[in-house]
């Protein structure tokens, strides 16, 4: 059974999410890839405010395809998260609670997640056509010059994802594989 997750994502909600949970995410989330993350961290380093309030925020690592016809947004699946590893600890320290991406994270990111209480969701890489249907509204709020990599505010409804790494550092990539391999012994 899926757990419903609504943003803003509070620490209480995060503590309730366990690695391996299937979730449906609803509410406002923000998109950013490497280029936008770099700029966000530069602002943070200068002590300047970010284009959105990071407190209890969820960031989706995605560079969507352009909308076609009457679409709200084009295909919009996750990009590989490790490219954001250099930046995520800074944003987590500022209050970001959730990240949606795909693939491995660095020990530094996991340490920041445990310290501040944050969760890493995996969305299905390569399912951009399906995932874009969960996006009900999309607007660029900063860095328009980055094109697909611009910072967007999305309103999502029941976006399917999995808890890959929870705030205790449990990692589905490690446990899921181990459990599967044991099941076939």
């Amino acid at each position: 059974m899926e757990k419903r997750v609504t943003t803003p994502l509070t620490l209480e909600q995060v503590k309730d999410l366990k690695s391996g949970d299937s979730v449906l995410i609803s509410g406002v989330i923000y998109t950013a890839r490497d280029a936008a993350h770099k700029r966000l961290c530069e602002l943070a380093a200068q002590g300047k405010p970010l284009p959105f309030d990071p407190t209890d925020s969820v960031v989706y690592f995605v560079g969507p395809a352009p909308a076609k016809g009457d679409q709200v947004i084009g295909s919009a699946g996750p990009t590989t998260s490790y490219r954001m590893d250099a930046y995520s600890p800074t944003l987590i320290a500022l209050g970001q609670r959730g990240m949606i991406g795909k693939g491995k994270r660095s020990p530094e990111v996991v340490a920041a997640m445990k310290e501040h209480g944050a969760v890493y969701f995996g969305a299905i890489g390569g399912a951009g056509a399906l995932l874009s249907r969960c996006i009900k509204k999309a607007e660029i709020i900063a860095y328009e010059d980055l094109g697909a990599e611009a910072l967007r505010r999305l309103e999502v409804e029941d976006l399917p994802a999995f808890v890959i790494i929870d705030c205790e550092g449990n990692n589905l990539y490690e446990t899921g594989r181990k459990e599967y391999l044991e099941s076939i012994k």
Partner: protein, 279 residues
Amino acid sequence: MREINAQDITAAVKRLCMEANSYLPGDIKERICKCYENEPWDLAKNILGIIKENYEIAEDKYVPICQDTGVACVFLEIGQDVHINGNLEEAIHQGVREGYIEGCLRKSVVRDPLDRVNTTDNTPAMIYYNIVPGDGLKLTVAPKGFGSENMSQIKMLKPSDGLEGVKAFILKAVEDAGPNPCPPIVVGVGIGGTFDKAAFLAKKALMRDTNVRNADPFYADLENEMLEKINALGIGPQGVGGKTTALAVNIEKMATHIAGLPVAVNINCHVTRHKSIEL
């Protein structure tokens, strides 16, 4: 001598860019369905079901299967008796430009690897020419996503590393990649040649229909063996564990130097796209 107009090449490339991004090849779809049926791990099966639903939506609505609509890899087999009226290379780039803009495909190319300014039309294409006998012209467009491209590896093995070294290196590349390249993956392997030829063979291997095995029975067996070994790793769809890590392993090989054993592993995701046309 047969004449082909550059404009016809532009039109063909444009169409192939758009279609390849929405219509997954039949062999890949079949393999996803088969793996879905045979997947014993619940979460893995769920994911394969969503992957299936996703390509059906893409096909039905004519939208990109994945938002990473790739860098356009364009393969040409040009008959040596063909003459192109106009600028061939510019005609290909123009086709990519028109296809990516009109098709609402994502523009994912930067003009320089270090200054990283987006070209805003997905050009230039990555072009691979092959001159063949006759007067035909075969065009293949393969949009290549970089989540999987980034997980590719190449190594100059020693001849003494032999077959076992090759097998170990293929498994290492898949293991290192883990959940990153959107498994289930398709693994293209190039063995032999030079440093660059091995890499090209690996990419070429990804263009082959996954229901066609290497014509050399030794390499056909190796493809089957490696698929089994990769799927025994248990990485599973999206890395959550499961039986389905790879959909296929395609290997291409060629002659090489007495001192060398180059091996390249080009990884592709479940969105292994390519479409061809003969002009």
